[in-house]
Amino acid sequence: MKLWHWIILGLVTVASIVAEFAGQHGEVSHLPFKIPLFWIWFGAGGSVVLILFGKKLFGPIVEKKEDYYND
């Protein structure tokens, strides 16, 4: 990742936050989604949970060597 990649991501995020606060009042009806920046937390938190659960908790239980069914 180069610096300008991060700058673009930052600009897109800022633009989305501005849009969230500027233009969507009354459009959201469900309680959790009224939390400010909810989808940012959800995207980041959801990714962390899925990766850690999948690779660190679930993976060690179900992962076996490649020839498991053939040995």
Partner: protein
């Protein structure tokens, strides 16, 4: 004006029959011609068109056209056509025939108006799709294909048993119509048979087991038909069945978690089929007009982008001979077009704005919220995060971007038709993302959903950006390894080893011993039958000192026997 009513499935079935007798050079053209003809027929046929056949006291409805069957028919016929272009270079007639039969089976199920017709085409799909797995010709594909077939035999058996049981009840008829589980055990059996084809956990392992073992082009067809015909039948027969919402939501998460663990690129995509079908089942389970529209439109979008994903993965396998992330990497320089076409599908399945997943998946998720199933809404959105992680980031990053290409990895150029097929499908992934009305016009209910709202854009952009950032920071953890992830197929694959060792093999051996003894006995009897006297002429060592003159019965013995018989008869006559 007289309207010609031909079931679209019949065109493909006729094509499958004609293909072997056509000159080999024309078969790939014929494949596309038959697929395209069925697509045109579906697009031009009027709603309400019906064709019935009377047989065995039943009125079979082999064609019934309405909005729901039309939209599925369109996408099935379209993907058969695009798949025909992608597989244009294939010269193996068996594979081409199987693909046409498979697509014909899918169209047959879609337009079937009665359960018997539906079941017949259901089974045609099972058999022909198995051939697409076996055609790869590897040991693994043979085994996985057999497991796939056994699963579908089970599913088909349950479906047929359910149909018969249901029809034996009062007031039942063979028309494909909405059913409820309260109508009896037959309906439950039918539901079970259908959800096996929909790959609902724990009946899903046939999919992640077999699809990655199929041929390069076969996997494209497999990704489109079996699970989506099951979704169609569920939408037709069981709309609003709440258990489907629960099962579907579980599927969305289940598939993405397993995909994060997998190393084989086509197995990653296979697990994401399970996840994506989960959205469709959830939509069917919610059962509102918006949810059914969401399920149907997502099935349509999914068939497009999933076929494109499998096409991209297929190009990698075709050109390198490898399909595991640990064996490939850094392929972008060699395959820029394949990479970007794949990424169009990856953006689509991840729900990027202006791609077709954005305008279809969101309808199902929103329908869950509208029906006050917030838990389902959140879990499905979490699954969308996992989808972007798995298909949008992990797979392309470790295939085309991360690390340098392994030095010993040779990359061939794919046939141009593979890219042409991909470009056509990619076009519609973008086109529907930009102009969703083209898809919405075919949905079974009027569409009131507008995907292009500020809220929807903000939500999507924030989720995608922060999913990407987390992926980048944690990519070391997500790096693939050579291990496999055990799934519920462990319950029949692992015991199979011990069943073979302790039951099947001893039984086989004892059978061999008994068989050998019977052959030995038969040999002795045959020898004895030639001349029973021989048995008395063998010495202790078993050698036979046989001489025809020496052991021929003496003439006097015969005369004496006859004479004795006459004397006995004379005495009997005198006495009595």
């Amino acid at each position: 004006m007289i309207e010609l009513i031909i079931p679209p499935a019949f065109i493909l079935l006729a094509g499958a029959l004609m293909l072997p007798v056509l000159p080999q050079k024309t078969r790939s053209y014929a494949f596309i011609f038959f697929s395209l003809a069925s697509l045109i027929l579906i697009l031009t046929m009027k709603d309400g068109a019906i064709l019935t056949v009377s047989t065995m006291n039943y009125q079979l409805i082999i064609l019934k056209m309405d909005a729901l069957s039309r939209v599925f028919g369109i996408i099935f016929a379209f993907i058969a056509t695009a798949g025909g272009i992608y597989s244009f270079h294939i010269k193996e007639t068996g594979q081409q025939c199987a693909a046409l039969l498979y697509a014909g089976g899918a169209l047959g199920v879609t337009f079937a108006g009665d359960f018997f017709t539906l079941f017949i085409f259901w089974e045609i799909m099972a058999v022909s799709s198995t051939y697409l797995i076996w055609s790869r010709g590897t040991s693994e594909s043979q085994k996985a294909g057999l497991r796939y077939l056994l699963f579908h035999v089970l599913g088909g058996g349950l479906l047929f048993a359910g149909i018969l049981l249901y029809l034996s009840g009062p007031g039942a008829n063979i028309m494909v119509t909405q059913l409820k589980p309260e109508m009896g055990p037959g309906v439950w059996l039918m539901l079970l048979g259908i959800i096996i084809n929909a790959a609902v956990p724990p009946f899903h392992a046939w999919l992640s087991d077999a699809y990655p073992e199929a041929t390069v082009t076969g996997a494209v067809f497999l990704s489109a038909f079996t699970t989506k015909t099951a979704v169609y039948v569920l939408a037709r027969v069981f709309p609003g069945l709440e258990i489907l919402l629960i099962l579907g939501t579980v599927m969305t998460i289940y598939g993405v978690v397993y995909a994060l663990l997998e190393n084989d690129i086509r197995r990653i995509l296979a697990y994401h089929i399970i996840s994506q079908v989960g959205y469709m089942l959830a939509g069917v389970g919610i059962g509102t007009a918006m949810a059914i529209n969401g399920a149907v439109s997502h099935a349509f979008s999914h068939i497009l982008y999933k076929a494109l994903l499998f096409m991209g993965a297929g190009v990698v396998l075709h050109t390198t001979g490898k399909s595991t992330l640990t064996e490939i990497g850094g392929l972008r320089k060699e395959q820029p077009l394949t990479f970007w076409l794949y990424m169009i599908a990856a953006f689509s399945i991840s729900g990027f704005p202006l791609f077709n997943g954005f305008i279809s998946k969101s309808m199902t998720v929103a329908a869950a919220g509208e029906a006050h199933h917030e838990w389902a809404m959140l879990l499905m959105t979490l699954a969308a995060v996992g989808t972007f992680l798995g298909v949008g980031l992990k797979l392309p990053y470790f295939t085309w971007l991360a690390k340098d290409k392994p030095a010993d990895l040779k990359v061939e150029n794919p046939p141009i038709n593979m890219h042409i097929g991909m470009i056509i499908v990619a076009f519609f992934c973008i086109f529907h993302g930009l102009y969703p009305k083209h898809l919405y016009q075919w949905l079974p209910f009027p569409v009131e959903w507008n995907p292009f709202t500020l809220h929807h854009f903000v939500e999507t952009v924030q989720i995608l950006v922060f999913t990407f950032i987390v992926f980048w920071l944690m990519r070391g953890i997500i790096t693939p390894n050579t291990k496999i992830a055990l799934d519920v197929d462990w319950f029949y694959r692992r015991p199979a080893k011990f069943t073979r060792k302790y039951i099947v093999d001893p039984w086989d051996k004892s059978f061999d011993v008994i068989e050998a003894q019977f052959y030995k006995l038969a040999g002795i009897l045959a020898e004895f039958g030639k001349n029973p006297l021989l048995i008395m002429t063998k010495d202790k060592k078993g050698d036979t000192a046989y001489s025809p003159d020496r052991y021929r019965p003496a003439t006097q013995t015969l005369i004496l026997t006859v004479l004795g018989l006459f004397i006995i008869l004379a005495i009997i006559g005198l006495v009595f």
